[in-house]
Amino acid sequence: MAYLGSRRLFVLLTAGALASAACGGSAAQRAALKVQSQNQAGTNAAAPGGGGYSGGDAGASAAPAEAGAATSDVAGSSPGAGASSSGSAASPAAGSNSAAKSSSAAAQPATRSAAGSSGGSGAQSSGAGAGKVLPGGSSGPTPGAPTPGGPPGAGSAVGGATDVGVTANSIKVGHIGIYSGPVGSFGDDLSYAGRAKLQEINDSGGINGRKLDVLVRDDAWDGTKGMNAARDLVEREHIFAFCCIMSVNTSDPLTPYADEHKIPHIGADGWGEPQYKGAWTFPVSASAVTEAHMLAKYQAEKQGAKRVAIIYINNPTGRAYVKAYEEVIKKFNGEVVFSQPATFDDPGTTTFIAQARTQNIDTISTYLDPGIFTRLVREAAAQNYKPKNAFSGAAGLYFQVTPNFTGPNGEGTIAATHWVTNDMDTPGYRAYKAVVEKYYPKIDHSTWTKGGFVGASIFGNALKSLGLEVTRQRLKDTVDTLSNFETGLGPNISFSPGHHRANKTIYLAQIQRSGDKFEFKYIAGPLVDEYAETN
């Protein structure tokens, strides 16, 4: 008996040893991958200043001159998202925080441009403590610029490791994106825009001498994988905060976790309603509920939609979408005749279309990804059917891949988006594009690339306004009083404690023919959701 017992236990032991040996072998691999990821970032970046990861020694030494040049370039072309916005971010901070902080906040615009030319050398300063970084930051500025952060002596007192994930010269930031899985082919773009902004912040000198060390993870649009990554980032990598996670399946479950551990998540995607319940989560894009409200109102008023059928990915966000659409369409004497859930392995689009035809539906609204939506549209074409008002859908459709996939069958489809549409040539959008495409030239600009960019911008500005004393609580307090942050991409963003529903604006775009191609074109907006909740 004992013999067997120990034998079995030994099996356990052996496997354990094997497992750790296997993982041990990958320690080198880990290092290799890290370097590789930095190199990748470097090659993705148009300027070799891509060594924005603080650990990237190789990149950093080559960076300074060109990074500085690139940065001043961007700063010049983006007044909306750049200097002026940090100025507005600074004002609430000045109101709620101490005078010392507000002085450093007010100094930000100057520091920013100064850091552009000196930040590289500041970051390179070998193993710099706070005392060394500060002179680095203050020796370079143009004459007349106020010296940030006070005297060097004070720097060592307030700088350094002020909170988890913060050192004298780096701040660890967690970011989770969708790089694989069912929507991985276009999901990766969602996080590239936010990452581009964070990298641009680094290339322009970082945050008051500290570089952002961005740790990127993949959730494959699967909340279980996303939470594994999030816990790993918090519990093992000891990150300071999360920034601009544009995956609803991770942002939703992350919200209670962030509250529990008091970790700020600046710039969540905001698609799911649970995110608005978090005290430490700050969504920037609009909710699917707002999309449904505005789509229903528009379709009822402009298209005379009366009999609607809805197909949705059956998560709480999808169900909320159906409910919200129904609420508003009823106000216009319309009705949701039937709705049907869909999954990736079994979308059920065939019978949905068949039923829509027999029920004499005039509008089909969807809460789907481009893949299932394409299947729906193809199915309708195969059955030689198209409802009077064609299709409409949540922001999940607002990707260029959607018209590419659907072709002529999708013509007339209306999609919601939370920011200016890609064909609206506003200065803010041009500035956004300049930054993002500098690092990721082939990006498919969608609702969430813009959301990620805005989230990262708010994050960077709020951090800068904190001066050297960077703590989670102070970051939260600062963002909690953010007022009228100019995004340059449509709605301005304001938060107040307990009220994190910052974006209630919807733009609508329609798939239209343009030559032999099909593209989303602006048709309406900004529409501000008057039915939205006030939290």
Partner: protein, 299 residues
């Protein structure tokens, strides 16, 4: 009227898909005793290779799908030669097919230029061509007609092979009584490759027929495979005609429930289980003893 025609056509469409998959699984099971879980996975591989050749490398459509199906057949032969033959017990080979399934489904995400994606558009040359049905506001697409035609062809062909050819005779002999078959000079080693190649090729063909109608993706064939597996139960994993009957019954029930009883939530998804219970009760009432695997160990 339109609703009835819709129900019949959609029911037939999915019935054909279930049939194609279930026939492939029954074919392998009754001759080798292996439950081929990889059936869906092979189709994914073949489909993505054909899509790769056609869309990324500019091959014409038919050579591309031909190549995809050939790859599937070759995979079947290799799998039989290097894996199934090395494993003494069919149950082990069943597990090997499970491993192969995981590997193949994961492969789609591993090959970098396949775009790390759930689905791809893979149109046939008959895309957007329909035949209107007289008297009803409805039409059938060419792709659907081709699917129906292929199922009929394949069913007839398989029936012919099993009944009228030497290979078919050998296959039936092996499945009925392997020991006797061996004594009669029939060699499992000759029958098995034919079966595996045929089954994997069939899976590839299923994808090619399905992709133009739906999308080319790495999950829906798996979902169909699981449902087809429950259908094979109707034929006791042995009878091909009963399997096809089960497949069409299941899909007709599913579709008519969805179209005629849309408010009875969940009923259409409960059908595989309900059919299973009906079959079980029927067998029980007929006094058949507990349903047990009768398949045999290969030599």
């Amino acid at each position: 009227m339109t609703k009835l025609i819709q129900t019949l056509i959609i029911g037939l469409e999915y019935g054909c898909v279930y049939s194609l998959i279930a026939m492939g699984m029954v074919l392998v099971y009754r001759t080798t005793g292996v439950l081929n879980i990889a059936h869906g996975g092979i189709g994914v591989l073949a489909g993505f290779i054909a899509w790769d050749l056609n869309t990324l490398r500019g091959w014409p459509y038919f050579p591309a799908i031909g190549a995809g199906i050939l790859v599937a057949v070759a995979a079947g032969l290799l799998f039989e030669r290097f894996i199934v033959r090395r494993l003494a017990a069919p149950a082990l080979a069943t597990v090997a097919t499970l491993a192969l399934f995981l590997l193949l489904q994961g492969l789609v995400f591993v090959v970098p230029w396949w775009g790390n994606t759930w689905g791809q558009v893979f149109n046939s040359p008959f895309a957007n061509k329909q035949v209107a049905i007289p008297g009803a506001d409805y039409s059938v697409s060419w792709d659907q007609l081709i699917l129906f035609g292929n199922v009929l062809l394949f069913f007839a062909g398989l029936y012919f092979i099993l009944r009228r050819t030497r290979v078919g005779l050998a296959m039936r002999a092996v499945s009925d009584d392997p020991t006797a078959a061996r004594l009669m000079g029939i060699r499992q080693k000759l029958v098995a490759p034919v079966v595996w190649g045929l089954a994997f090729g069939l899976s590839g063909l299923t994808t090619m027929l399905l992709a133009p109608i739906l999308l080319l993706d790495n999950t829906s064939l798996t979902a169909f495979t699981l449902k087809a597996l429950t259908v094979t139960f109707v034929g006791g994993l042995i009878s091909l005609p009963l399997t096809v009957l089960g497949a069409i019954t299941l899909s007709m029930l599913e579709v008519s429930t969805q179209l005629y009883l849309p408010n009875v939530k969940g009923l259409s998804d409960a059908w595989p289980f309900l059919i299973l219970i009906v079959v079980l009760v029927a067998r029980f009432a007929r006094g058949t003893k507990a349903l047990e695997d009768t398949a045999v160990a290969p030599a």
